[in-house]
Amino acid sequence: MSVATFNRDSIAATYAKRHKETDPAIRAIYYLPTEAPPNEIRLVEVNEAITGTAGPEPIDFGVDAGTPNEHKLIVFDVTPEQWEEVREGTLPLPKGWTLEGSREISGGRLRRRK
């Protein structure tokens, strides 16, 4: 009997596709696998509907505990302006996160970040 193995890239793409389909305010989703633990999916979601004056904060969810697909999903929601600041290095990503090797996966497909 074959045992299913966790495919992080594929699951990240599935999340991105679902999130983009259900939230029309999302402009782009970036997947940041570099330096992430093997079972951790880090997404930056650029969303133009975010209001308020709070700085962005990541939120983490455990998923599929006790299965071969057990993983942690962490989403960092930012406004388009905050995303520009992240790219310019004036707004920090969560501790331990890096844009190195990040990929845009807004349509459920992986693309290297331009």
Binding site: Y15, R18, H19, T22, D23, A25, I26, E45, N47, A49, I50, T51, G52, T53, A54, E57, I59, D60, F61, G62, V63, D64, A65, E70, K72, L73, V75, D77
Partner: protein
Amino acid sequence: MNEAQKLWWEQAKSDHAVFVLLRRAGVHECHMLHYLQMAAEKISKAYLWRSGTAPPRSHVGLMPFLQALLSRGLGRKERQRIAEIFDYARPEDMAAWVRQVSPLAHELQNLTPDLSNNGPNTEYPWPHENPVHCPALHSFALWARLRDREPGRRLVKFIEKAIQRLEQYA
């Protein structure tokens, strides 16, 4: 903050700490939603106790709390102060967000067995007379909306903020 508020606040903090543990562990959705609903109910009661009289004993959920925070009876200055505590520039901005998330807030407060209309709830198999579903095996559409959409994630963060910052607005 009066003594009753302090007691409800302590319980809200404890329930929320369990919610965070469960959310990070990725257990069955019913348990995460159960603790989130309980934390929201208790911070709501902690705030509503500011009048010095007991709020209704039954499940007082997020909506009465959110409405009380935005009540015109508080006066413009106080509503402005509360909006800023919750990271909104103006009460109107906070009110617009509350309108956006009110369906989620309603759904969360209605997850208790007595408010679930004999349907999906976080505790007991349903329907009561002839059970065909149980919470542990149910996939809650609400949980997907809280996890997979920014307004849902912001509501989860709002509840946390409401608990952490109660001393500032109680």
